[in-house]
C-alpha cells in the first residue's frame, strides 16, 4: 500500500496563501515591478495609439497602389513573434547596431520601443477594419462636402472613437502580457527593467512561486479592470451618442 500523502496540496495552498500575504502587505518588490510594468506598457500603448490608429485609418481611407498588400501585411504582423521583435530591437540598440550610441539597451526605453513595435500592427489592423466599415457608409457624403483625405481620416477616427477602444485594449493586453521581447532588450534587471511577466518567468524558474502568483494575480486584475472600464465607457457612449 502506498501511503496517502497530503503535503502536495498543503504546498499548493501555502503558495497561494503566501502570494495573497504578499499582496495584502503591499510588498515593496511587487509594487515596484507593477509600477514599472504599467509605465512601460502604458508608454508603449500611448505611442501605439498615436501611430497605429492614424496608420490604420489612413490605409482604410486611402486609395493607393499596394493597399491590399499593405492590409494583408499589417494583418499578418498582428501575430508577430515577440522574441523576433526582441532580437531585431536588440540588434539595432546593441553597441554595434545603428542606434548603439544611444545607450538604450537594457533600459525601460528599449522595452517601450519593443512593445510599441508589437502593438502598432495590432492596433493599426483593428483600426483599419473599423474605419473601413464606416468609410464605406460615409465616403460619398464626405466627398460631396469636399473633405480632404486627411480631414476624412480625422473625422472618422473621431466618429469611431468608442469602437477604437477595442484596438487600444488589444494593444494594452498584448503589451502587458508580452515577455519575450522585454526579456531580450530589457535584460530583466532587478530594480531597473524587471516587469511583471519577466519577474513571473524568473521567480517560477527559481521556485519562488508565491511572488510569481502574486504578480500574476495583479496582472490579471489590471487587465480585467481596464476591460471592465472600457466596456462601461463604451456602453455609456453608445447611449449618449448612438
Amino acid at each position: 500500500m502506498f501511503p496517502v500523502s497530503s503535503p502536495p496540496m498543503s504546498a499548493f495552498s501555502a503558495t497561494f496563501s503566501d502570494a495573497f500575504t504578499l499582496l495584502a502587505s503591499f510588498d515593496h518588490t511587487v509594487a515596484q515591478i507593477v509600477a514599472l510594468s504599467l509605465q512601460v506598457s502604458g508608454a508603449a500603448v500611448a505611442l501605439g495609439t498615436l501611430i497605429g490608429l492614424p496608420l490604420g485609418a489612413c490605409i482604410a481611407v486611402g486609395r493607393f497602389p499596394g493597399k491590399s498588400t499593405l492590409s494583408v501585411l499589417i494583418n499578418g504582423m498582428m501575430g508577430l513573434p515577440s522574441v523576433v521583435v526582441g532580437v531585431v530591437v536588440y540588434l539595432f540598440l546593441s553597441r554595434s547596431g545603428p542606434f548603439g550610441g544611444l545607450g538604450m539597451l537594457y533600459s525601460p526605453a528599449a522595452m517601450v520601443v519593443a512593445q510599441t513595435l508589437l502593438v502598432v500592427p495590432l492596433m493599426a489592423a483593428i483600426t483599419r477594419q473599423v474605419v473601413e466599415d464606416v468609410w464605406a457608409r460615409y465616403a460619398e457624403e464626405l466627398q460631396v462636402m469636399r473633405f480632404s483625405w486627411w480631414d476624412s481620416v480625422t473625422t472618422l477616427l473621431h466618429d469611431c472613437r468608442h469602437s477604437l477602444l477595442v484596438a487600444v485594449l488589444a494593444g494594452l493586453g498584448r503589451a502587458m502580457s508580452e515577455v519575450g521581447a522585454v526579456m531580450i532588450v530589457g535584460g530583466n534587471i532587478d530594480g531597473a527593467t524587471r516587469v511583471m511577466t519577466t519577474a513571473i518567468a524568473l521567480e517560477t524558474s527559481k521556485g519562488d512561486l508565491p511572488l510569481a502568483i502574486a504578480l500574476g494575480v495583479v496582472l490579471i486584475v489590471i487587465i480585467l479592470a481596464l476591460n471592465a472600464l472600457a466596456y462601461a465607457l463604451r456602453h455609456w457612449a453608445m447611449r449618449r451618442f448612438g
Binding site: Y138, E140, E141, Q143, M145, R146, H158, H162, F241, G242
Partner: protein, 241 residues
C-alpha cells in the same frame, strides 16, 4: 463662378458592361425645382451622383454655366436618402459642411445655430444627432447642405421613409432653400410630392430621359407610354425593370 445652366449631353455610364445611363440629355435652368421620376433602376440616383462628381461617366459631357465650363469645385451639394449622422452633437453635425470651406470654429458654431433655428432644431443643438427621429435627421442633413449656400442642391429621395408630417416639414425646408436662391434637382417616387413641389418633371426609364416637361403638362398629357403607365401605376414588363 456661374455654374448654371447645366447642359448634359449623351451621358453614359456602363460599369462592367451594364448600361445604367444610356445617353442622358438634360438641361437644367438657373432657377426652380426639378423632380426626377421613374421606376426603380431607371438611373435616377446614378444621374445625381454623376452630376455631383461621385461617379465618373463612361462618356458624354456636362457643360456648367453659360460658358460651358468644367464641374465646379464648390456650389454643388447632395443630400442622401439615409444621411450621415456622425457621433457628435446636432450643432457639430450641421456645421460640418463649413469645415472644408475654411470657416473658423466659432463662426461655424454661430452660423450653425442660426441654421438650426431655421429648420426648427435649435432646441436640439446639444443632443446627439443619432438620437433624432428620421424626419429630424433629414432636416439636419438639409440644413447642413443649405449652410454651405450651394447653387445646385441634389436631393436623393429625402422623404422616402418619412411619415406625412415629417415629409411636410422637409418639403417646407426645400421650398425655403429654393427661395434662398438654390436650384434643386430632386429624385422622388411620391407623385403627390411632385405636384406640390416641382416646377418641372424629368421622367427617366431604362437609363434615359423619356421626357422633361412642366409638372402640370406631365400629369395632364404625358408624352411617353412609359410615363403614362408609370403615372397609372402600371410598370410595363418590356421595360425590364
Amino acid at each position: 463662378m456661374v455654374i448654371l445652366p447645366l447642359r448634359i449631353r449623351d451621358l453614359r455610364y456602363r460599369p462592367n458592361g451594364r448600361e445604367v445611363l444610356a445617353g442622358v440629355d438634360l438641361e437644367l435652368s438657373e432657377d426652380g425645382i426639378t423632380l426626377v421620376l421613374g421606376p426603380n433602376g431607371a438611373g435616377k440616383s446614378v444621374l445625381l451622383r454623376t452630376i455631383c462628381g461621385l461617379i465618373e461617366p463612361t462618356s458624354g459631357s456636362m457643360a456648367w454655366g453659360s460658358a460651358g465650363g468644367a464641374r465646379p469645385q464648390q456650389g454643388v451639394m447632395m443630400v442622401f436618402q439615409h444621411p450621415m449622422m456622425l457621433r457628435m452633437a446636432v450643432l457639430d453635425n450641421v456645421a460640418l459642411g463649413l469645415k472644408p470651406l475654411g470657416v473658423a470654429a466659432a463662426e461655424r458654431r454661430r452660423r450653425g445655430l442660426e441654421m438650426l433655428a431655421r429648420v426648427g432644431l435649435a432646441d436640439r443643438a446639444g443632443d446627439s444627432a443619432r438620437q433624432l427621429s428620421g424626419g429630424e435627421q433629414q432636416r439636419l442633413a438639409l440644413a447642413r447642405a443649405w449652410l454651405t449656400k450651394p447653387r445646385l442642391l441634389l436631393l436623393d429621395e429625402p422623404t422616402a421613409s418619412l411619415d406625412p408630417s415629417a415629409s411636410a416639414a422637409v418639403e417646407r425646408i426645400i421650398r425655403e432653400i429654393r427661395t434662398d436662391g438654390t436650384r434643386i434637382l430632386m429624385v422622388t417616387h411620391n407623385l403627390g410630392q411632385a405636384t406640390r413641389l416641382g416646377d418641372d418633371i424629368v421622367f427617366m426609364a431604362g437609363g434615359r430621359v423619356c421626357e422633361h416637361t412642366p409638372v402640370r403638362a406631365f400629369f395632364a398629357r404625358p408624352r411617353s407610354d412609359e410615363a403614362r403607365l408609370f403615372i397609372q401605376g402600371e410598370l410595363p414588363w418590356r421595360m425590364r425593370l
